[in-house]
């Protein structure tokens, strides 16, 4: 009986995190604002063309972090999901960077 109770308590504390509707809608509003910001930077900041590209990529990266951590739930997952995601990101950025370096230094 005692063991069963303890077991129940353990499974209780291991309940999965459930994102609340409120949080999800808040995230969505944030993503909307960032989307409109990207469009505004591109349409209004035409003269700062290179800056606009950097800004657009900066905002897109921020948005993808928000989607991954909150919508895709990585924030509440075990560390292994964060570590693997980080490794994939580092590999991709390295691949991109070295390709750019190659072309830029020819």
């Amino acid at each position: 009986m005692e063991v069963q109770k303890q077991h129940d308590q353990e499974t209780e504390t291991h309940q999965p995190h459930i994102s609340s509707y409120r949080d999800l809608i808040g995230i969505w509003i944030g993503l909307m604002v960032l989307t409109l910001m990207t469009v505004a930077v591109s349409v209004l900041g035409g003269r700062l063309a290179t800056m606009a590209v950097a800004m657009a990529m900066f905002i897109a990266t921020g948005k993808s972090f928000i989607v991954a951590s909150r919508f895709m739930h990585v924030k509440y997952d075990k560390p292994v999901f964060k570590v693997l995601g980080a490794i994939v990101m580092v590999l991709f950025v390295a691949l991109l960077l070295f390709t750019i370096l190659d072309y830029a230094t020819r």
Binding site: I18, T38, V43, I100
Partner: protein
Amino acid sequence: MEHLVLPNSGLTRDDEGSKLGMWLFLYTEVLLFGGLFIVYTMYRFLYPDSFLQGSYHLSIPIGTINTIVLLTSSLTVAMGITALQKGNNKLAVWLMVATIFFALVFMVNKYFEWSAKIEHGLFPGMDAYMQLPRGETLFFFLYFFMTGLHALHIIIGAVVIGLVTMEIKNGKQSSSNFAYTENAGLYWHLVDLIWIFLFPLFYLIH
């Protein structure tokens, strides 16, 4: 999610493991599109003016609407998973149906977008396309290839969410067994995530 599958535990499934499997698949998707993004970066670096010219053919309003549609569909699928976890299956079904609806809206927009370009002969191999300068042919080739591959992912995602919806409806997916639904959601969010980069890179150059 926290179930450990131990011998004699009575559990025949491993939710954590299936989620990890889904993520491993998503990493390969990231590298698939990532390779294309690198091709894009290099050609844009070599032909910056042609890419700018090419982007003038794309409509920022349609691109923005599709971005908003996809972000909203990500919200509905995430809320659907919350509803399922809270045991509100009926709401979960409706939110999944809403997600499929948004996928359809996205595809209809895409259809009008593509058919306008094809009418102007800008699809690779058509007359107007063949007369474009080299940089612009690369822009349109990448535009059709990358948004086409993305659209294919939208179709697959919508079908998978349809299958999940039926599982929820007949009670196979529930508040105590939602790994399949969660994995379908992960796929859908990834499709949204790729569009987050496609949109500024193709539509917002000017």
